[in-house]
Symmetry: C2
Subunit: 341 residues, 2 copies
């Protein structure tokens, strides 16, 4: 591979001058600019990023560590962040924590060693381990979607209160009084927040809270199926269920299918995240949606602010209910469930 030394030689200038031309430094003569540009082209020269950043301590790269690439929500988030990063001149190195703290920490270490300029993270765990490291080292970091108590970095999150409140109201207005909840893990802020929002919303709609109606999953498909099964096998099963993420909603649906029941008719379902495929299901799914694209874009913006030494405010985006066909009337659902058993 050609080095800048080769370019300088071919252009008949010093390495310094070649470097300046390549970097776009205005302190260069038109003549050397032409010479160097031609040499770069002729030799197909690509600066070695390792060497550049070793010297300049910038890498023009961002690390994005998501909880689970296979979750459509995070795939969309990754896509949005990557595009926003690219527009700002950053390349985004994507990592996948697989909803596991150990894998998150491993990737975080890798990103530290590669000296990424900043890290975008959907954090998992209690903020010890690698998260404590990056904060202590002062590596520019922004949390997205999730937060960690006691860790003071800017965040971009969604306030699910409004969406969940609308969801419970909507179900209540259709006569549902027993609303199940398949919760996310309590080791994540979203898991805790959504559960609390559900509990609050029940109270606001004057519905009794029944601990039996809450199942704690882990944001993965299998736990959604297990949760739905447990709920439907209760003495008095719920007539409606809210699932706290898309993957668990998918699991819940598969469980309902296996029981030879039908979503919307036998049990109403509200999912989280506005996944394209949810509109294709029969019935299409009512969802609490958040603007994932905006989230990714804003998070990259905040991170660039932090990298630039600024101290940006955290951002909280609203959520909202999108009503589709999976939420039917309780009378209907109740009667059929009764028949079903």
């Amino acid at each position: 591979m050609a080095t800048i030394r080769d370019v300088a030689a071919a252009a008949g200038v010093s390495v310094s001058t070649a470097s300046r031309v390549i970097a776009g430094n205005p302190a260069t003569s038109p003549a050397s600019r032409a010479q160097v540009t031609a040499a770069v082209k002729a030799l197909d020269f690509r600066p070695n990023t390792q060497a550049q950043s070793l010297r300049s301590t910038r890498t023009n790269s961002l690390g994005l560590l998501v909880s689970d690439v296979r979750n459509p929500f995070f795939a969309d988030l990754a896509h949005a962040a990557e595009q926003a990063g690219l527009d700002a001149g950053y390349v985004t190195l994507l990592g996948n924590a697989n909803e596991r703290v150990d894998q998150q920490d491993r990737y975080l270490n890798t990103l530290i060693q590669r000296r990424v300029d900043g890290i975008l993270l959907t954090p998992h765990g209690d903020g010890s381990g690698a998260i404590a490291d990056i904060v202590r080292r002062g590596i520019p970091t922004v949390f997205v979607d999730r937060t960690v108590d006691g860790v003071d970095v800017p965040t971009v999150t969604t306030d699910s209160n409004k969406g969940i409140q609308q969801a419970v109201q909507h179900l209540s207005s259709m006569g549902h009084t027993r609303i199940g909840f398949i919760s996310g893990p309590q080791s994540t802020s979203t898991g805790r927040e959504r559960w609390a929002a559900y509990t609050n919303a029940l109270a606001m709609s004057s519905l009794a809270a029944d601990v039996e109606l809450v199942y704690f999953g882990d944001y993965q498909t299998a736990s959604g199926a297990a949760g739905m099964q447990k709920l439907m096998n209760l003495q008095t099963p719920p007539t409606a269920v809210i699932a706290a993420d898309s993957l668990m909603a998918m699991g819940a649906i598969s469980c309902v299918h296996e029981m030879k029941l039908k979503i919307g008719r036998d049990v109403a379902l509200i999912a989280f995240d506005d996944i394209e495929m949810f509109t294709l299901l029969d019935p299409s799914l009512t969802v609490v949606s958040n603007n994932v694209h905006e989230m990714g874009k804003l998070a990259v913006g905040l991170l660039i602010d932090v990298i630039g030494g600024r101290n940006p405010q955290s951002i909280v985006l609203p959520s909202e209910l999108i009503i589709r066909s999976s939420t039917s009337s309780a009378e209907q659902a109740g009667s059929i469930i009764t028949r079903g058993h």
Copy 2:
């Protein structure tokens, strides 16, 4: 941040010795090993990867450039490759080409500049541009899922012939004679191969080929919807349709729903890729499946071989038909479609 110089000083040894201990070089005394290990711990030292790889010309990183992260097939592929890479000591930098040649080339350049040890790519285009660059420079590269004519790098692909043949046979055995095909773009090898396989399979089942029944999409959702619409609006619409990837299948389904028709009853559908969500649809989708996990794992294995200077053979994996509920009898489908119009 602590450097190796700090570690050496704290341990009371030379930088060379510190480096050797850290690298696990056996030519070190137990005493200095203990000293250095303690110093590393005390200072929380992390070697600077930039500097390491600048010197050793290895980066222990792999670049993985997929066509579209939001496509579940590629998300699964990324996940599989990343895990396999991690197991072999590599960190995988994931990039997203968005099914666009220009974005692919941009990322490829970035990966070259970062001196990744090898590149895993689902290639797009004709092999000019950045792909020609990486081949010319001899950067270890493996193509996965797709190939590029005239570019001689090891590949891991799926032979879709068998799966498509089974699909057509299956449909034919159920009485379907007009089988539509929503094809991938002809700028990809899979797009060309699957179309050819479809044409062949028709002949093998003694079905007439009708150019009207083929629509050329771009592997994205919208084109699947457009394709289905075109097919269903034909004078004599098909009674069954095969969609060449999961996203286009999703688009096709949404189009059918909008027409107030039902998959399986009004038109049979076979999709590509065994996406979890396809099992949840009503009716569940018959698919031509390939083992994406195996693909990702094998591709990483080949890439590591190439990096190691070996010259591995390309691998072709089989595809197979998984029959579910979206493929009904033609009599039924035909009659209802006739009624529907």
